[in-house]
């Protein structure tokens, strides 16, 4: 599907750069990642989106992989990844460092592998909530592409501002900016989405800013951002 068809059914015109960013993300998810295969990545996002639609949500302390019938047949990742997708979709504000350490143990993988899944969750919740906010169905996930994960990561170091390790000088940037830097491909697509959905880092420096083809001024966007963050009980 071409990017210009992605939201063609919308009653509300979607900017081309935004549709192109979401289209690029759908391709990105389906390809082999740095630590996980395309099949694993697509399955993880499918679980994330299914969690959003759960008509009978579980409480945060109840891992869905232990509930009969919840873990899909042939689930291609450790069960801890299924629980992680559910927790970040439904109860993200309840995460703790001990939860993070437990997921790492369950994944039995490097912290960078956790970062890749966390990035898929965060970006997947952007693309997975945009269509429904316009009254549309979500775009279909694309068929997983074959290939092995690259396992090519930059050197990382512990950070004070995040649980996860980061690339580059730790804590020289805000926590959310360095959050996914340990997996550059995920960091890059996340900031591409942010630039199209909200504003780029350069645009953030302009307090009196308005995208030329958008009716919303920055302060209107920030009101929406703050209200959504309040709903999600996000301290940051």
């Amino acid at each position: 599907m071409a990017a210009d068809q992605l939201y063609a059914a919308s009653d509300y015109p979607v900017r081309a750069d935004l549709a192109e960013a979401h289209d690029a993300w759908l391709d990105h998810v389906a390809g082999p990642g740095t630590w996980w295969t395309g099949e694993q990545r697509v399955a993880f996002v499918a679980a994330l989106w299914a969690a959003l639609d759960d008509p009978d949500p579980l409480p945060p302390w109840s891992p869905p992989s232990t509930e009969p019938g919840r873990l899909p047949d042939g689930w291609p990742l450790p069960p801890a990844a299924f629980d992680m997708a559910y927790r970040l979709a439904r109860h993200a504000a309840t995460t703790t460092e001990s939860w993070y350490r437990g997921v790492l143990d369950g994944l039995d993988a490097a912290p960078e592998a956790y970062v890749e899944l966390a990035a898929l969750a965060a970006t997947g919740l952007a693309v997975g909530t945009f269509g429904p906010a316009l009254g549309l169905a979500r775009p279909a996930l694309r068929a997983a592409q074959p290939g092995d994960p690259s396992r090519q990561s930059p050197p990382v170091a512990p950070a004070e501002l995040n649980w996860v390790p980061v690339a580059g000088e730790p804590d020289a940037r805000p926590a959310v900016v360095q959050a996914f830097s340990a997996v550059p491909a995920e960091h890059a697509i996340q900031w591409r989405l942010a630039g199209a959905q909200y504003m780029t880092t350069a645009q953030m420096a302009e307090l009196d800013w308005q995208r030329p083809d958008s009716p919303l001024h920055r302060r209107q966007m920030e009101l929406v951002a703050a209200r959504l963050s309040l709903h999600r009980e996000c301290f940051y």
């Binding site: 966390a118 920055r218 929406v224 996000c234």
Partner: protein, 113 residues
Amino acid sequence: MLRASAKAVGQPVDAVDAVNGHDVEQAVPFGPLLVGFVDAVVGVDTRAAHQARTRLAEAATPAAVADAAAVVANFEMMTRVADSTGARLAADRLESTTSERERLGVDAFSSAR
């Protein structure tokens, strides 16, 4: 950021009032409709969401609905960036937001770390 961007255009705003949907029409055009839009689309009532979209489109423009939905999507993402990686505010940012955090009750969130 809302407080700073509103001030930059000569429309100072109480950010806490704004986020709570109070008295923001002058400082933030369509503010109550934008707050109502967010409240509706994060809920499960599809009829309420449809009504919120329609009201915002009629008062502003249909494109405003799409761009507001994009901001909602972005902060569904950014809240998970923060909460999945244990993001903490730097000390200077903590200090500069003390008053707003107290008034919004943010310090009581379980995500406070």
